[in-house]
Amino acid sequence: MSVATAAPTGNQASARRGLNTWDSPWLNFKFLLGLSMIAIILLMAGAGPLGLYDTTRARVASAPLNLPPAWTNIDNPFFGEPDPEYPLGTDSDGRDLTAVLLVGAPRSLHIGLIAAGAGMLIGVVLGFSAGFIGGWWDAFVRTISDSIITIPALAVLIVISAFVKNLDVVILALLLAAFAWPGPTRLLRAQVLSMRERGYVQMARLSGANTFSILFREMLPNMLPYLAASLTGNVSGAILAATGLEALGLGPTRIPTMGMTIYHAMYVSALFRGMWWWWGMPIVALVIVFTGLFLMTVGLDEIANPRLRGIREQ
């Protein structure tokens, strides 16, 4: 039951620190580390508009071909001389990979945020109504979300984008959202069911609060960490699907994205030609995005469930 039985070490540590204003569960190391990784990626979007870097070089044929990154000294007649002008090197089509990174990495995050946000909105409405109204509506929502959740989103998206050429970024994000709502719906429904009979909800009901205010002013704040964990998980899932689609050459083609860079690299067998910086850059960028979101999810889980904090490594 108590944290003390679960983990004596964790308890000692918190006793040593004592309870003060810095003891808020939101100051979770994993959560903050993940958050700052995501923030760095998002801030990269400012480099172009602020004039810190010439991001127009993300276009084809705007840079010398096949330059290795500036810090290397690769002596290969097929590649150019490393040039400090192009820190991360260039690809075989004359794109400056630094510019591609600065433009593309934040874009991948945007797609994920729009998709997961829209999915979360649907999830809040359906999950709350299912949990609170119950009856046939609950059965209906549960059945549909249980069956949609098992359909591989990536596969259906492949069909769609194979038929519909030149997917818009926003359309892609909304299509991803069509598969992102069952998770939050299930979670919220379960939470509403378990909270419905809690003391503070009973109290609010007794004091004459209406359903709407019980849902949004009493229950919702208590679910915030769960919601946030589910949201970051969904952002990650949406980026995963979008990147997969792009890596197949099926994503939006007008703006450079990380998945598209992988697609270009695979397409001309950069792997085989030893141009590791070409496929390495998008992978490193996406690993930072996914790891950041993952750390945020884990951190938020610990914020929501104090027991998980108990066995923290000491």
Binding site: A139, T150, P152, I158, V159, A162, A241, L248, F290
Partner: protein
Amino acid sequence: MSELTLGYFLRRLGMWLLTIWIGATLIFTIPRLAPGDPITAMVERMIQQAGYIENSADLIEAWRARFGLDGPWHVQYRNYLLSMVRVDLGYSLANFPARVTDIIGRSLPWTLGMVSIATILSFCAGNLIGALMAWRRVPAAIRNILPVSLTFTSIPFFMFGILLISFLAFKWKIFPAFGNYGRGVEPGWNLDFILSVLHHGLLPVLSIVVTSMGFWALGMRGMMVTTDGEDYMILANAKGLRSRRIFWFYGIRNSMLPQVTALALNLGAVAGGSLLVELIFGYPGLGYFLYQAIISADYTVIQGIVFMLIVGVATAVLILDLLYPMIDPRITYSKGQA
């Protein structure tokens, strides 16, 4: 142990049908909401290549009729559903005489084998790691090393696959980079073939296992921490049961059930991710042929493979659902509770 009631079985079968129906409807509807249709697009591409095609309008009409794309949408929809029920997925557009079912029949065993082995391995390894991470009787040194195995969690399968290929296949040449078995190996039940299949399959399996096991480990860790606080664990300790017995038969046994539910819920995502793994490794499963179909704009094959994938995942979930009452003795399925 509660037995499998007929009502439960029928309800799960209904879910299976519903999932497949929703999937089939999505594949049918969404492409039709978009402007243009595949046949026109294909003929346009032919025109681009050939310069000019006489009677292209007639050609489009004839092909539309051939592939069931004419007539009002409800007739198309009915015919489409009927052909799905008959598992008649039509002919490949790009390799015309080839039937879609034949292409799927050739590639499905490889996907099924690779993905199911990878999923089972990652599920078992991940759950064990997670359980040990939460188990206080495990030496702290080991408990602190275990999270290292989760480093690659949450990275897409196929990206880890690219890393594996570039190091283990191209740089150090320990494993082959492409294919399902070596050239010159006679397929059949001989040792050479089996070894070659294992040698080729190891990297794809590894790229799925390493990147997905952390998900199971974290879930299991959370469940184990909760289970550890239960009264029956204290009782088991007080009875003087051996630590190993408590771990397996009290801890893991009780933490396992939500994990099995999570497995059923995540199979779709695993199947989707494995498509790209097959592509990266040139592994001739569904994902590989799906990519070939995308390149050649072979719409019937794309639709057929995705449909089979939906059916496959739904069936795996159905099997898990039917096994569930057997591993969970507490739940009786008199009232539907998933």
